[in-house]
Amino acid sequence: MSDRQPSSHNYGWVLGATLVFLVGSIGAALFLLPPTLEMSFGGMGRPVGPGTVPIIVLTLTILMVLIVALQEVLYFCKRRGGKLVPIETTSDESSELEASALRKVIYAVATLALLVAFLLLWRNTAFPVAASAFSVILSFCLLPAGWRRPKHSLSAAVIAIIGVLVIWLLFEFILNIRLH
């Protein structure tokens, strides 16, 4: 799977994401520990209780977080110590389709925020309204720089709304799945 080395430019972001992932994992494991300890762990006629496997999983999770953290610290020290040759760009990352980590984070956070706003709007209005707003805003954001003119923006908005209507009609009337 993914074991290529990050470029120097992206390394900070990869490290940040790793930190978030590890802190999130260990935080969740520690948070779940007290309720797990209240579960039963087997007894008469039941060698394994509902809490047995969860407690094993949580213990192993904490252990693995510590191991991965140790590996990352060692890797970080190696890089800083200059023992590891810094890789400016890998073949994958130099690909014209590969975005920088900063760009990925910005786009992902913005898109997820937009999706959450869409869900809130959907709960308070109707699906076509909320989805059209979401789709039009995202379409504008994704328009190429040279296309951000009234004519192109209008056609993008129209196409986005048509797309929403197609999805709505497909689910509501063909698949009979009500989007309320």
């Binding site: 799977m1 999130g24 997820l112 789709s135 698949l175």
Partner: protein, 502 residues
């Protein structure tokens, strides 16, 4: 003989449902299109398409999804050849000879070779599936709880062992997946586990929101961030499909590569990427013009495409026989099976034999349709590559949201899907493998329930896992899968340092 008659029944079921055949054709077309768009994969196509198949009959729904799977792997060759950008990860090797051929003005021919190889690979995969799956399912019926628990553990460890140098990261992700699978009421005692009183979590985390969140959302987010490809593409007008004589010259390459693909599909997590690399490497060794591979030789395209399509049949074997997904798309298919009330595993052939054989028949039909649709439609699929991102991605995101909502008509599921999508995105960015999380989520309940059942039978004796031969062998293989890569890496390092010092 029994298999042939059951398969004939499967074909009859399909023939009686012409609308179903149209759905399969649509699935194949959507798959080819998804595969052809760089950044989108067959997994994404299946994720978006599962909700649309809710209302279909199970065999047609599953056949449509398999059509998306086959089409997706085949479509990946289009941008690999035309743009030097693999449409799907498994088409990476296709770029090596496909794009040089396109630069020589032979793009249509290269696409023709890719198509023929994809169809042969899919066909060989289908033959392997039809001949091996029923036999293996019958054998698997003899397995007890201890063996099933060991098998689930083996499935998890083999995936983790393929996490490359990130073995610990893979293990952590598998554990996170298992932890997610434990949320909800305990299936045996009904005790509350990590729900914190949330009614929506009493039934546990639904598999589909989790799969869509972990696979599709990070994929779309990454694709949205990628700079757009603004090249206008068209195909030159020339003969596409190679002649029979030309194909016969590649017959051993086609067969060898397809078989390698099937093998790679059977082993969980190897998948199309490694299958096509292995096949390309073997083809380079055995073919006469192997030394010229990388300069635009049809043999290179044939090896890569036959292997990555052979994977489809191979990956379905562990899915249908023991309920272990061979790759990320088959993990999605598990969700598809469950939605239609089908439990993947050996009992599937016994309990729902008619549906399973209809699915197997539909797989062959999807392969034939892949050929026909590609011959007619590649020229149009190429135009999809010109589709602007601002049209494509909002629609795809809406489809994932609506699809997740359609499952239980709950906004909660959509929120869960987005939360897991964020988790998947962070994991991808931090270079943690996402597939072990999904596999942990799928195999966690099997591992726990079968382990508890085995211990109940043995009266709490953990030695039951070692005294039963199949279970003991699987546990030994699991240990080897984890320890093996560490030992190999240690030996490689010590050899390298010995060489450096001498």
């Amino acid at each position: 003989m029994e298999t042939i008659s059951l398969l004939a029944g499967g074909f009859q079921t399909l023939a009686a449902n012409p609308v179903g055949i149209l759905w399969i054709a649509l699935g194949v077309f959507v798959g080819i299109t998804c595969g052809a768009i760089p950044g989108l994969t067959a997994t994404m196509g299946v994720a978006v398409f599962i909700p649309i198949t809710f209302s279909l009959e199970p065999e047609i729904a599953l056949a449509t999804l398999i059509g998306v799977y086959c089409g997706g792997l085949s479509g990946g060759a289009v941008p690999a050849i035309l743009l030097n950008i693999p449409g799907t990860p498994s088409a990476m090797v296709t770029t090596l000879d496909g794009h040089p051929m396109a630069r020589q003005g032979l793009a249509t021919r290269a696409l023709g070779w890719a198509l023929v190889a994809s169809v042969v690979g899919s066909f060989v995969g289908w033959v392997a599936l039809v001949t091996m799956a029923p036999v293996l399912a019958r054998l698997a019926l003899n397995l007890g709880s201890a063996e099933y628990a060991a098998l689930a553990l083996f499935g998890l460890t083999i995936v983790v062992s393929l996490s490359g140098s990130a073995l610990a990261k893979g293990l952590l992700c598998a554990l996170i997946g298992i932890a997610l699978s434990m949320v909800g009421l305990d299936p045996t005692t009904g005790e509350d586990r990590w729900t914190f009183g949330t009614i929506n979590l009493f039934q546990g985390i639904s598999i589909m929101p989790a799969l869509i969140g972990l696979f599709a959302i990070p994929e779309i987010l990454m694709a949205i961030a990628a700079p757009g490809v603004q090249k206008r593409l068209n195909l030159e007008r020339s003969r596409m499909i190679p002649t029979l004589g030309e194909m016969m010259m590649q017959k051993w390459n086609l067969l060898r590569s397809s078989i390698i693909g099937v093998g790679a599909g059977i082993i969980p997590a190897l998948g199309g990427n490694i299958g096509s690399i292995l096949a390309y490497d073997q083809s380079r060794r055995f073919e006469k013009d192997g030394a010229k591979y990388g300069t635009g030789r049809p043999g290179g395209i044939v090896a890569s495409e036959a292997a990555n399509n052979g994977v489809t049949g191979g990956a379905l074997i562990p899915l249908l026989t023991v309920g272990i997904p061979g790759d990320s798309v088959t993990a999605m298919l598990i969700g598809g099976l469950m939605i239609h009330g089908l439990q993947p595993g050996p009992r599937l052939f016994e309990a729902n034999g008619d549906i399973v054989y209809a699915i197997l028949a539909a797989f062959l039909l999807a392969t034939i349709m892949m050929y026909l649709l590609s011959v007619v439609g590649y020229r149009y699929v190429v135009r999809v590559l010109n589709l602007p991102r601002h049209v494509l991605y909002p629609a795809l995101l809406l489809l994932t949201v609506v699809g997740t909502y359609a499952l239980n008509r709950q906004i909660f599921d959509v929120g869960l899907m987005l939360a897991l999508g964020a988790l998947g995105f962070i994991a991808t960015l931090a270079r943690f493998p996402v597939y072990p999380i999904v596999l942990g989520l799928v195999l966690g309940p099997i591992l726990e329930s079968e382990m508890r059942r085995a211990l109940l039978v043995s009266g709490g004796e953990w030695s039951i896992f070692l005294t039963r031969p199949v279970s003991a062998v699987l546990l030994l293989l699991s240990v080897m899968a984890i320890v093996g890569p560490i030992v190999v890496r240690y030996m490689q390092k010590s050899r390298a340092s010995r060489n450096a010092s001498s």
